[in-house]
């Protein structure tokens, strides 16, 4: 073992740990939002690799290491307290915790490397992985986990080699002594005194180096190991029984809450429409079969209702003119449908709608009316405002602090894959409801410009105002088919003295959905048609892989809802959808079609779906406690796991006695996507491993070049292989055309005719047990070995008797001790 080899090993180890440090710091940074630490550790570890390990220009000595560690600790702890008390900042605390691990790593990288230093780096990196897992729960953790695992395995490969060499020869490793060690040595030296024992023996370790291409070979070896570890981790994770329900632990990452606002000024929706932040995933399935319910159009996902409009004359255009909810909610607990409600859902499909809302938007709950409960447990109680057909909001402090909140409601808003525009209005006839309805018709009487515009519009079109639905439909078409333009690039107001909606209506005629909805509501109300604005989302991206709509902030939308009595709908296209209800809310969307959008790519869909799987099956495990999961028997009764186990045992016993066990097992579903993924990864790992083996068999030259071909001799009879090995050392190699006997005869002749050594070897240079140069024993030894080889190779007697074994050993010893005349003799 030369110093160069060891130095290369150290350099390679440092590089491996440096890469792990970068990747782990990136994981932490992706969660905490600060990229200073990865940049810092990248610079330090690169400098350490070049200047400390490769060039050996400098290194941190003992004192420098202590000072560096102390400074790193003081700085990080100080940063933490500063972020905790002086200027409270969660991200600052995270950065301080991460720094507490990264800064000592930097100090360790700058030290002279030894086993101890590498161990400490490894421990710090593992702890950093914990921090990364706490602060970063997005898909990137899973994506980077695989390369990090492979790098770990590869590093530990190297480390095992380094540790083995050090174990073989401890002098190779000269660690910087710890303070306690220094004190102990001083104590021993001063008090006890150094004891000099005479040296009995000096050893020089040996090493048989493997084939060339070790680095590639190591990397190839690390792949199946890393994959194996990951596969095990997957099975371990999914098969670990969980006695408690999945807890929604607070994430240490940023938790901004910027969903749809409660008040909506004129420019607010415009800002939302330019924000591509994902909000939620919405999936629709048949109520009974739970299979995907395909939709022909994007659904209108309802969030809030705005029924009151602020007066623009009282404030500026953008801050005073805002929509708010000024009505009275009528909350009731969302219940499962009763038989008496059946007429309300006549001719409609009953579906389940699952909302998977990201945490920062989870204060607002969404619905697709008419809504009802499905019976599935929800993380928060769902209170349904029957008058406004929205779900009550959740107090921001009571939102479960998890990555997302998932709940499911039932809906009968669809028929044949189309969301119907008509919804039965559930009125209780209370005073508050009447007051609210009154406001919906009389709120815009003072907007003269709009009134003039409305009169001109109706007069020109000769619409019968006594038929309110046709009037509303005409107004909708006026906006969608007229000379109005949809744009997010709003022009400055032409006339600032009037309301911005009126200015849009008569001057600008350009705007986004909020302008169109506001203008239509203004016209409808001035026509005494009760109407209001509904704010929510109209998603554009359907993920075919996961069968869900991916909703973004840019999908925010505002539309109009008008109230009609059953009589007012007679003779219209909606008459057929009428149910035994007194009045109906009818949806109008006056916003013209926007410019063609770029459809989401398949790749983007795949990433989004992978994120969903990661969240569902790993981070929060929401799918793990579902009734289809393998965990269901354990986690169903989480309060008393033991009682649950006993109960399940009794059930299984009953099933066995009744012969239903196998039928029951057949019904157990599993997260098939994850099962396929894990199986595929495992198969790939096995294939990689088998490829290495097959490569050695079918492409030995290529395998040799790659360093995959073992150089050791393939043997069937170990003693004969040893014989061949000994002869090969003397330059005698068996040819392909030679039989073993021909070869040994040739070897015997060749050795006997080799030039005799120059004089007898002096006795002090050669072991005394070596026989003098006599050809006959060699011939006999080779004959004995070959004969036994033939017997074991071609006869049924495959074993050697003890006497034969002794004979073989003696023959091999004679062969080994036979003087090598091909080499110059010492002395």
């Amino acid at each position: 073992m030369t110093a160069t080899v060891l130095k290369d090993l150290r350099c390679s180890l440092t590089l491996h740990f440096a890469v792990i440090a970068w990747l782990t710091a990136m994981l932490v940074a992706a969660g905490s939002g600060s990229y200073f630490l990865p940049a810092f550790i990248f610079c330090v570890s690169t400098a350490a690799y070049i200047f400390v390990d490769r060039l050996e220009w400098f290194e941190l000595g003992r004192v420098g290491s202590y000072v560096g560690m102390l400074a790193a600790t003081v700085f990080s702890v100080g940063s933490y307290f500063y972020s905790a008390f002086s200027v409270p900042s969660e991200s600052g605390q995270l950065a301080a915790i991460a720094g507490l691990l990264v800064y000592p790593e930097a100090v360790l990288f700058l030290q002279r490397k030894s086993l101890r230093v590498y161990e400490q780096i490894a421990v710090f990196l593992l702890l950093e992985m914990i921090v990364a897992a706490l602060v970063n729960d997005n898909l990137w953790f899973g994506v980077l986990l695989a390369p990090i695992m492979l790098m770990w395995v590869s590093s530990l490969f190297l480390f095992s080699r380094y540790a083995t060499l050090v174990q073989m020869n401890p002098n190779l490793d000269e660690p910087t002594p710890m303070l306690a060690e220094i004190l102990y040595r001083l104590f021993v030296k001063s008090v006890i005194g150094e004891k000099q024992n005479p040296q009995v023996v000096t050893t020089r370790p040996g090493q048989h180096s493997g084939p060339a291409g070790q680095s590639l070979r190591r990397i190839l070896q690390s792949i199946p190991l890393g994959i194996g570890a990951m596969v095990f981790a997957g099975f371990f994770f999914y098969l670990l029984p969980r006695t408690g329900a999945v807890q929604f632990e607070p994430s240490l990452g940023p938790t901004a809450r910027t969903g749809l606002p409660r008040t909506l000024n004129v420019g607010h929706v415009g800002r939302l429409l330019s924000d591509p932040t994902p909000v939620m995933r919405v999936s629709v399935s048949h109520f009974n079969t739970k299979k995907n319910y395909p939709l022909r159009q994007s659904p209108y996902i309802r969030a809030r209702v705005m029924d009151s409009y602020g007066n623009a004359s009282r404030a500026s255009r953008f801050y005073g003119a805002e929509w708010i909810f000024g009505g009275v909610p009528s909350y009731l607990q969302l219940t499962v449908t009763q038989p008496r409600d059946e007429p309300l859902y006549l001719n409609r499909d009953r579906v389940r709608v699952e909302f998977d809302i990201r945490n920062q938007f989870a204060a607002t709950l969404y619905s697709l009316p008419p809504a009802f409960a499905t019976g599935r447990a929800t993380p928060v109680p769902l209170r349904y405002d029957s008058l406004n057909m929205v779900l009550d909001e959740v107090d921001a402090l009571r939102v479960p602090r998890s990555k997302s909140m998932v709940y499911e409601i039932g809906s009968s808003a669809f028929a044949s894959g189309v969301q119907l525009p008509i919804v039965p209005a559930l009125m209780s006839g209370s005073h508050y409801e009447n007051h609210t309805l009154y406001n919906l018709t009389n709120d815009f009487s003072e907007f003269a410009t709009c009134e003039q515009y409305r009169r001109r519009l109706i007069d020109r079109a000769e619409i019968d105002v006594q038929r309110p639905y046709e009037l509303a439909k005409f107004v909708e078409r006026h906006f969608t088919d007229g000379d109005f333009t949809y744009t997010l690039d709003l022009p400055p107001p032409v006339d600032e003295s009037i309301d911005p909606i009126e200015d849009f209506l008569v001057n600008g005629r350009m705007g986004h959905c909020q302008y169109f909805a506001s203008a239509m509501v203004m016209i409808l109300r001035q026509s005494h048609i009760p109407s209001r604005i509904v704010v929510g989302y109209k998603p554009h991206e359907y993920n075919a892989l996961g069968d869900y709509y991916s909703v973004k902030q840019s999908d925010a939308h505002a539309w109009v809802e008008a109230l009609f009595s059953q009589e007012q709908l007679i003779g219209t296209e909606l008459e057929g959808w009428a149910t035994p209800a007194a009045s109906y809310w009818v949806r109008f969307d006056p916003t013209p079609a926007r410019a063609a959008e770029t459809p989401p790519t398949q790749q983007g869909q795949a990433i989004d779906y992978a994120e969903k799987l990661w969240k569902d099956y790993v981070v929060e495990g929401q799918k793990l406690d579902s009734e289809n999961s393998l965990y269901a028997p354990v986690s169903a009764n989480s309060e008393n796991a033991y009682a649950s186990m006993v109960e399940q045992f009794k059930k299984a016993q009953q099933q066995v006695t009744s012969g239903q066990l196998w039928a029951g097992l057949a019904r157990i579903g599993f997260a098939w996507q994850v099962a396929i993924l894990i199986t595929a990864v495992g198969v790939v790992g096995v294939l990689c491993w088998q490829t290495l083996l097959l490569l050695q068999r079918f492409a030995p030259r290529l395998a040799g070049r790659l360093g995959l071909r073992p150089q050791a001799t393939r043997v069937q009879q170990a003693f004969y292989a040893r014989c061949l090995d000994l002869l090969e050392r003397r330059g005698l190699r068996r040819m392909l055309h030679e039989t073993p006997r021909e070869f040994t005869q040739r070897a015997s002749l060749s050795l006997q005719h080799a030039p005799a050594p120059s004089g007898s070897a002096p006795l002090d240079k050669a072991p005394l047990d070596k026989a003098p140069l006599d050809k006959a024993p060699l011939d006999k030894a080779l004959s004995r070995l070959t004969g036994l080889y033939y017997r074991m190779r071609f006869s049924e007697q495959q074993t050697l008797s003890p006497a034969e074994q002794q004979d073989v050993e003696q023959a091999l010893l004679e062969l080994a001790n036979y003087p090598d005349t091909t080499k110059p003799q010492p002395g």
Binding site: A122, V123, L126, I130, A133, L145, V153, L156, S160, R161, A163, T164, Q167, M168, P198, Q199, V200, V201, T202, T203, R204, P205, G206, Q207, H208, G210, P211, Q214, Q221, S222, L225, G228, A229, M230, F232, A233, G234, F237, L240, R242, E249, V618, V619, G621, P710, A712, T713, V715, A718, R722, P762, L763, D764, P767, L768, D769, K770, D774, L813, A816
Partner: protein
């Protein structure tokens, strides 16, 4: 043969003997089983790893943080892989050690260990071979040094060799082994080890020094003539005795070409062995009981001189030696005249120790037959000249004929009297 086997398989009649044999067999089986077992131990790195793993796992379970459970699963997977690799890859490995039966102090000795992997599929990687060393004679001591070598890979159904070098600084009898095969592969989180029952003993001969030309002066002048003659005719030749067929090892100089031509096969001349006078040397190692594992430099010098003298004398073929040793044990080799006998002498010298009261007279008695022919005695001693004392002690125990002719040359190593002859 069969009778003997039947006799050996017949159970002894005594119940105690039966129990004793059964217990002995059982102990041997248990020992063999224990030796073949692969042991797994966590390394220091593995202990650190387990510590962090427990921290992660408990934290993940208590707080139900799934990512940490996943991380813990991966770590447990790595640990299981480590355990499985360590235990399986070492199973079935055999090691065969090749080393000379003896060597000299200060000479480097190559020890080759050949590891065979009989498994069909699983190889063994980073196999560390460790041969512990024990000193058995003249004192028992376990040495801190080990013979170590590492083999990067032993492929399935293949064998691989590695060598290490040993240089001994003290003579004696040593034991090498049992070999321990261990591996930390692949992740150094644990270490599997397996001990093989393959210990062997070998002897380290005393250090050989350089004899100066003055050594010849130690022997009598009348022997020089015969020695010179022996050098000219060859070490094995004497009076012509007859002819015989050629056999392996015969010198070409002995071929009798005329007879060979006549008979058509090689024939060589046969000689009578020359009877030469033997030189008598007596080694007197007197000294206090030595500290454990050490020996006085003077004693070592005396032993080394005697070993070198015997070695060189036999190499030259000029003389024959009669050697007596009075030390911790007393023995006499009356006719040291070949490699085998020199080796025997060196082997005994390798383990000899000083004695406070060496039995010189007994050694002298053993040398009597030789001294009667050649009464010149060379004494290599670690004490001052004790010729008078020796004569006094030997009076009455040795033949008076010898006592009158005996001529003793006493060399005291403590006074540096060997320096002119030996370095």
């Amino acid at each position: 043969m069969e009778t003997m086997q039947n006799a050996s398989q017949t159970p002894p009649k005594s119940v105690v003997k039966q129990l004793w044999r059964r217990w002995r067999n059982k102990r041997a089986r248990n020992r063999a089983r224990a030796m073949s077992r692969v042991r797994f131990r966590l390394t220091r790195e593995g202990v650190h790893f387990i510590g962090v793993l427990l921290f992660i796992f408990l934290g993940a379970l208590l707080r139900d943080i799934n990512l940490l459970i996943l991380l813990a699963g991966a770590m447990i997977g790595l640990m299981l892989l480590q355990w499985r690799f360590n235990t399986r890859s070492l199973l079935g490995l055999t090691a065969q050690r090749f080393l000379p039966r003896n060597a000299f102090v200060g000479h480097e000795t190559n020890v080759e260990v050949r590891v065979t992997n009989p498994k069909r599929w699983l190889g063994a990687w980073l196999v560390l071979i460790e041969d512990p060393l024990h000193k058995l004679l003249p004192n028992v001591e376990k040495l801190s040094e080990k013979g170590t070598a590492v083999i990067d890979e032993v492929a399935p159904n293949a064998a691989q060799s590695a060598t290490y070098q040993l240089t001994f600084h003290q003579r004696g009898r040593y034991r090498v082994g049992p070999t321990t095969l261990s591996t930390r592969f692949p992740l150094t989180l644990g270490r599997g080890s397996r001990t093989l029952d393959n210990q062997v003993q070998f002897t380290i001969f005393p250090r050989l020094g350089q004899l100066s030309d003055n050594v010849r002066g130690l022997f009598q002048q009348e022997q020089q003539g015969s020695a010179r003659a022996a050098r000219t005719v060859g070490m094995q030749e004497g009076e012509f005795y007859g002819l015989r067929p050629w056999s392996t090892g015969d010198s070409k100089r002995w071929i009798h070409w005329r007879t060979t031509a006549r008979l058509g096969e090689l024939s060589v001349r046969q000689f009578e062995r020359r009877e030469r006078q033997r030189v008598c040397v007596l080694l007197d190692l007197q000294g206090p009981s030595q500290r454990k594992g050490t020996s006085s430099e003077q004693a070592e010098l005396a032993i080394s001189f005697l070993a070198s003298l015997a070695h060189a004398t036999i190499r030259s073929g000029a003389e024959r030696l009669a050697i007596g040793v009075a030390a911790s044990e007393t023995f006499v080799l009356p006719d040291v005249q070949g490699c085998v006998l020199v080796e025997d002498l060196l082997r005994r010298l390798a383990v000899v120790e000083a004695n406070p009261r060496p039995d010189l007279v007994t050694a002298l008695q053993g040398l009597t037959p030789v001294l009667l022919n050649n009464p010149y005695l060379l004494v290599i001693s670690t004490r001052a000249d004790q010729t008078a004392w020796l004569r006094e002690q030997a009076r009455g125990r040795l033949a008076s004929r010898l006592m009158t002719r005996l001529h003793i040359r006493w060399l005291n190593t403590t006074q540096g009297e060997l320096e002119p002859y030996f370095t």
